[in-house]
């Protein structure tokens, strides 16, 4: 009798132990499956992001949040260093930007974006700049009486973005940054701002082509020699991300210019016409490529203007232009 009871007891113990193991296995499987699905969704969102950028490159000038929709809210971090720039989705899926130069905030928690693609052309096409913003982000462009005409005519951000133009004399009434998600205030005024505001703040001195990023009481100054770079500063989240993307833009400029220099040398060999001498422009382009790689903005600006003039002169003589 005792042995029969023992047999039943052993049976139950076995069933319990086996049941616990099976349950543990299933629980582990469920957790792993959920983790895998999250990774899969992150990858899908990352690919949707990449597809949207390709759509911009292929011809669309602007994408609003309906067209640039990742399908679900994800965390996106934009990373940039000297070697490469990439975005990271949900701390898992990363993808390089390639030769796209993207100006945006560093971190997002969103499902959609507003985007604008702008050609960087300094007499020749260099690359495309993509400007990205959260659909709920508001840009306040503050002007005063001396800059009003310039700002309202030339600082024209596309309608896909939330942009408000504010007269500095009425700033207290018109600047409604409370309850706004990560607003950015861009002062394009005679003098630098002295207001203490709970927002991203920057100052643009259009006369001297100077930028000032105001972050946590510190001021980071930089120059810009191109309107496209100025817009890049407007859309950048902070000075360091703008600076990194600007460096990448100069690296791209260096590569494109070196290709034009090589084209000039090829044209010199192919076109046998005494009035079509490409050696001078080739030399200038090689120097420009070198200065672009060294990030010497002043020399880049000077040489850039010079090569554009040289190119026009070649065209004026009836020769094939380099660009």
């Amino acid at each position: 009798m005792q042995k029969r009871g023992q047999g039943v007891e052993y049976n139950w113990i076995f069933v319990l132990v086996a049941g616990v193991f099976i349950l543990a296995f299933f629980i582990m499987f469920v957790f792993k499956y959920v983790e895998l699905q999250e990774k899969k969704l992150s990858a899908q969102a990352g690919r949707a992001f990449d597809q949207a950028l390709s759509t911009l490159e292929a011809g669309e000038l602007y994408l609003d949040d309906d067209m640039f929709d990742l399908g679900l809210i994800v965390k996106i971090d934009m990373r940039c260093d000297e070697e490469e720039a990439y975005y990271l989705v949900n701390d898992y899926y990363d993808h390089k930007f390639g030769d796209i130069i993207l100006f945006s905030d560093r971190n997002y928690q969103t499902r959609s974006f507003d985007a604008w693609i702008n050609e960087w052309n300094e007499g020749f096409f260099i690359t495309n700049f993509v400007y990205l913003a959260d659909p709920n982000k508001v840009f306040y462009i503050v002007y005063d009486s001396s800059t009003a005409a310039d700002v309202l005519e030339n600082i024209d951000l596309p309608d896909v973005f939330n942009v408000k133009y504010v007269d500095y004399s009425r700033i207290n009434m018109e600047l409604d940054i409370e309850n706004k998600k990560n607003p950015k205030i861009i002062f394009i005024t005679q003098a630098a701002p002295s207001l203490n505001l709970d927002a991203q703040v920057m100052y643009i001195d259009r006369d001297n082509q100077r930028l000032v990023f105001i972050e946590d009481g510190n001021q980071y100054k930089d120059n810009y020699f191109s309107e496209a770079l100025m817009f890049g500063a407007i859309y950048s989240g902070d000075y360091s991300s703008y600076s990194c993307m600007k460096n990448r833009a100069f690296n791209r400029l260096s590569k494109v210019v070196s290709l034009y220099a090589l084209k000039a040398s090829i044209l010199n060999r192919l076109i046998i016409d005494s009035k079509c001498d490409y050696s001078q422009i080739q030399l200038s382009l090689e120097k420009l490529s070198q200065f672009a790689e060294e990030k010497d903005e002043d020399m880049v600006k000077q040489l850039n203007d010079f090569v554009v003039v040289q190119n026009k002169e070649l065209g004026g003589r009836g020769c094939a232009v380099v660009f």
């Binding site: 029969r4 490159e57 020749f124 260099i126 590569k255």
Partner: protein, 187 residues
């Protein structure tokens, strides 16, 4: 009486022995059933896991294919090859001198290998003349430009080929022609 008692005792012992063996048998049966059920579940899970992996792999291949198809259009717009006149780009037109320059740079610069990966990009002139001679910086009469060449060492990759018509500006003749751009990809 004693015999009866003995028989009863034996019968009791036998009954206990019998029920003990029956308990063992039942336990063994339970073990077998649980074991087979677990095996079936494991098999089901393995098949499901392999299905998931295959699904992810297919999605990845679809994405690579879409990216490759995008390249057909975006490559012809890149500043490295697009025709331009005083800084204004000409869509879907490829500059012959730039193509030669790009080929030279893509061989030296790791940047382009990182950009384009395993691809072959060739342009063949069809009009106003066809010429199978490969263009180089020294050749004048030619009709094939090899822009970029990077073939993987291992052939486990799947090869995709896409072709598109393009306009070609022939610098030394100052004339436009029609050509075909062929992009081979390895995914």
């Amino acid at each position: 009486m004693i015999l009866l008692l003995f028989r009863i005792k034996n019968w009791g012992a036998g009954a206990v022995l019998l029920s003990f063996k029956k308990g063992q048998l039942e336990t063994q049966q339970t073990i077998m059933v649980v074991f087979i059920v677990v095996l079936l579940i494991l098999l089901g899970l393995i098949l499901f896991y392999r299905y998931l992996l295959a699904d992810i792999d297919n999605q990845n291949k679809d994405y690579e294919r879409d990216k490759f198809n995008n390249l057909m259009y975006t490559f012809s717009l890149s500043p490295e090859v697009v025709c331009s006149n005083y800084g204004v780009s000409d869509v879907l037109c490829l500059d012959s001198a730039k193509m030669l320059a790009f080929n030279a740079l893509s061989l030296e610069d790791r940047y382009y290998k990182q950009q384009y990966g395993y691809r072959n990009i060739t342009v063949r002139l069809l009009y106003p003349y066809e010429n199978s001679r490969i263009c180089s910086v020294n050749s004048v009469e030619c009709g094939v430009w090899i822009l970029y060449e990077n073939i993987p060492e291992s052939y486990d990759y799947m090869k995709i080929v896409r072709k598109t018509p393009v306009s070609v500006y022939i610098n030394d003749k100052d004339q436009y022609g029609i050509g075909e751009m062929v992009i081979e990809g390895y995914i």
